[in-house]
């Protein structure tokens, strides 16, 4: 009977990784209150690392899961698992990068609250990745964003931090409102908030060459604007440089990966899973956005003297590369690059692999900036002068990350771009593939300039001594991942191919 109380118990085991992160956040709140302030650094950092690693282990058990629980709100499938792995590894790396920064720099920020907000932001992003319903997508994005706004303002004594966070907050809630408005239109047209039900309804009503319903088009445009804000695509990127520049550097590292991953998760869930029948329309939209974003990010990054701002514009450019992967989505069965793949879609797999690659190399780059801030260096290009003489290992790590962001084989950044380009060519988007190559060559200018400054300039001033063991381990881990995950990319792309299980319902109904 309709509107009847739905009393069967949800399968909580399917949401085990999310519950672990939730438990971690609550445990951190209590730890913050009841552990002596002098022990916060060791205890809460350890607790965070253990919690995120436990959630990662719990995810392993779900690698082949494909089920829905919480009455359609929660999905455990290949897409959930892959995105959650990215988000959780970004969380582990952020904890390693931020621990000593939060504890010592910028007037000693409250580390307990920092970890609590970090955990909630991670939880929100994971819920977006696992969403099976528009409502869950929205609520997850809000949970993730709200915590990130506060993290961006965490250095509240520094006006640039507060200002960047305020811009991020105001534009972010504006984007959320637009997103909600777009969802309302889609709900109004299709009569459901459930992603699969929307796909079913659209497959029945949309088709042929007839003119697209304006109400649906309006919903699509509003959703694109809202999600474009969250992923920092041009022309919705205005908050990015100030927010990235102002936030404490480890938070910038986190902001550049996890909210972006959440935004792309939402885009895949909504556009591919729910609005799949409208593929032709949104693919055009996204390919234009991708070109604009790549071109703008790369060209403006050239003129930046501040390394954090340069990396902010570089992250905009990388959003563009990821959008190319999404624009290359083909609504045909047999996805992927791996064994047994047909001639179907490669776009979403390449996008997922790109986010994973970007996670390691971008957090790595910000980690080296953090490392230098511990040693009394600033953020301009000149502060990196002669780094190879004073700190050869840090310079080498930074060089690896820069070269990987540029996309040079055999590093992970090269394979990420390689898969995106393959997918674009396969989807007959040759012009986008050419744009990726050309703009990667443009990006070489500013990435290699930093490397040149580190290796050929003279160092100035005496470096300060600092003990940052956890950060050192994190940087080493990210260097290894940047090299190794590129060389052994086949199993990862196979895992990414499993995202297709998210389409089991929608794909069959759409009949494509």
């Amino acid at each position: 009977m309709p509107l009847d109380l739905n009393l069967e118990t949800p399968d909580l085991w399917l949401a085990l990784p999310q519950f672990i992160v939730f438990g971690l956040a609550i445990a951190l709140l209590f730890g913050d209150a009841f552990v002596a302030r002098t022990r916060h650094f060791v205890w809460l950092t350890g607790l965070s690392l253990v919690g995120y690693l436990a959630a990662l282990v719990a995810l392993v058990g779900q690698a082949n899961e494909n089920a829905t629980t919480f009455y359609g709100l929660f999905r455990a499938d290949g897409l959930t698992v892959f995105l959650s792995v990215i988000i959780l590894s970004a969380a582990v790396l952020t904890v390693m990068v931020s621990a000593s920064y939060v504890e010592r720099l910028e007037g000693r920020m409250p580390i307990g609250e920092f970890y609590v907000l970090l955990a909630f932001s991670v939880l929100g992003a994971m819920l977006v990745a696992a969403a099976g319903d528009l409502v869950m997508v929205f609520v997850g994005i809000e949970l993730s964003s709200l915590a990130t706004y506060v993290l961006a303002a965490f250095a509240k004594r520094r006006l640039t931090s507060v200002e960047g966070a305020l811009k991020y907050f105001l534009l972010g809630i504006f984007a959320s409102a637009i997103l909600a408005y777009g969802m309302a239109w889609v709900y109004g047209v299709t009569g459901s908030t459930d992603l699969d039900a929307i796909a079913r309804s659209l497959a029945a009503s949309v088709g042929g060459d007839e003119f697209l319903d304006p109400a649906l088009l309006l919903g699509l445009l509003l959703l694109t604007v809202g999600l474009g804000f969250k992923m920092a695509a041009v022309p919705f990127h205005f908050w990015t440089p100030d927010a990235y520049d102002g936030a404490p550097t480890p938070v910038t590292a986190f902001m550049s990966v996890v909210p972006k991953a959440a935004a792309f998760a939402a885009t895949v869930r909504i556009f591919v899973q729910a609005l799949g029948p409208l593929r032709d329309e949104w693919v055009t939209l996204l390919s234009v956005l991708a070109l604009l974003t790549m071109a703008f990010g790369n060209i403006v990054a050239i003129s930046q003297r501040n390394v954090k701002r340069m990396l902010a514009y570089s992250s905009i450019a990388h959003t563009g590369y990821m959008l190319v992967g999404l624009a290359a989505y083909q609504a045909t069965g047999g996805t992927g690059f791996g064994a047994g793949a047909g001639d179907g879609d490669q776009g979403v797999s390449s996008l997922l692999y790109y986010i994973l690659a970007y996670n390691f190399m971008n957090i790595g780059a910000f980690a080296v900036v953090t490392w230098l801030q511990h040693r009394g260096r600033g953020l301009t290009l000149d502060d990196f002068g002669g780094l190879a003489t004073t700190h050869p290992l840090a310079a080498a790590a930074m060089a690896v990350f820069m070269v990987s962001l540029m996309g040079v084989p055999p590093l992970i950044g090269f394979y990420a771009k390689y898969y995106v380009i393959l997918a674009a060519i396969d989807a007959d988007l040759l012009w986008l593939a050419v744009a990726v190559v050309v703009l990667s060559a443009v990006s070489a200018f500013y990435y290699l300039r930093l490397v040149a400054v580190m290796y050929f300039n003279e160092p100035e001033g005496q470096p300060r001594q600092a003990d940052t063991r956890l950060l050192d381990v994190g940087i080493a881990g990210m260097v290894i991942a940047t090299i190794a995950l590129g060389l052994f990319s086949t199993p990862i792309i196979d895992l990414a191919d499993k995202w297709e299980s998210a389409l089991t319902v929608a794909g069959q109904v759409a009949g494509r």
Binding site: P2, L3, D4, L5, N6, P10, F70, Y71, L73, F74, R104, L105, E106, G107, R108, P110, E113, V116, L117, F120, L123, G124, V135, M136, V139, E142, L143, L146, V150, F154, K156, R157, R158, L159, T160, V162, K167, W185, V189, G191, A197, I198, S201, L202, S205, D213, A215, L218, F238, D242, D245, G246, N306, Q373, G376, G378, L379, T380, D383, A466
Partner: protein
Amino acid sequence: MPWDVLIFYLIAAVCVLSAAGVVVARNPVHSAIFLVLCFVNIAATFVMMGAEFLAVVQVIVYTGAILVLVLFVLMLVNPDDLPEFHAARPVQRYVGLLLGAILLLEVGAAIVTRSVSGEQGTATPDNIAAVGGNTQALGRVLYSDYLLAFEVVSLVLLVGVVGAIVLALPERLGERPSVARRGSISLSHPRGVDAALPEGRPAGETLIPTRHSTSPTRASGAVATGNDREVSAGPTPTGVVRDLVMTRDADAFGHMGDKR
């Protein structure tokens, strides 16, 4: 014309006009009062659609709680400290108008030509009446089908509380920022709030000296406020003014801190 349509148009007209008043009014208090009017009229349209629970929530939560809070804040803040709302460049204003007009056209076109309609949902008037009314139907859906979303919203509120405490709580009781944080947020300011900074200083970290910070280490630009939460023994005197680090340039802050 039937009465209910007439009443609907009356309510809608007042609603649209008061919404315009929110934007046009120069006095923020007037804006807030226009917003109250707008929300009450929206609640009236909810009643006309048979969603009486939403109407009551609209009045209690928006008009009752949130707008009273907004008015409180407006009363507490010195009007001179408020940013200038109408300082946008003409270009921004015209582009904004243009985009707004395009959006309006799109919404209009979408409403006029609406053709696609999906399956009818379960919340039909008959089904709502069967469970006893609007409120009961909403409660059933909220605590069963949308249970997870409902719980996650409570986490959003928790994050809001934690965030407010982190951002608003001073590091010691009784201290307050020594400089009023003024200035408007504008996308045309690429970095920093220059209006709040003294002119003519070199780029970099500038410590605004206060009455209580006369020790030589502080005057030399070092930030000694790092770990004195444990150092300060006994109750701190109220009214202590906290040093606020003003950096014109975010690059410069790398040299501060780390003074264990």
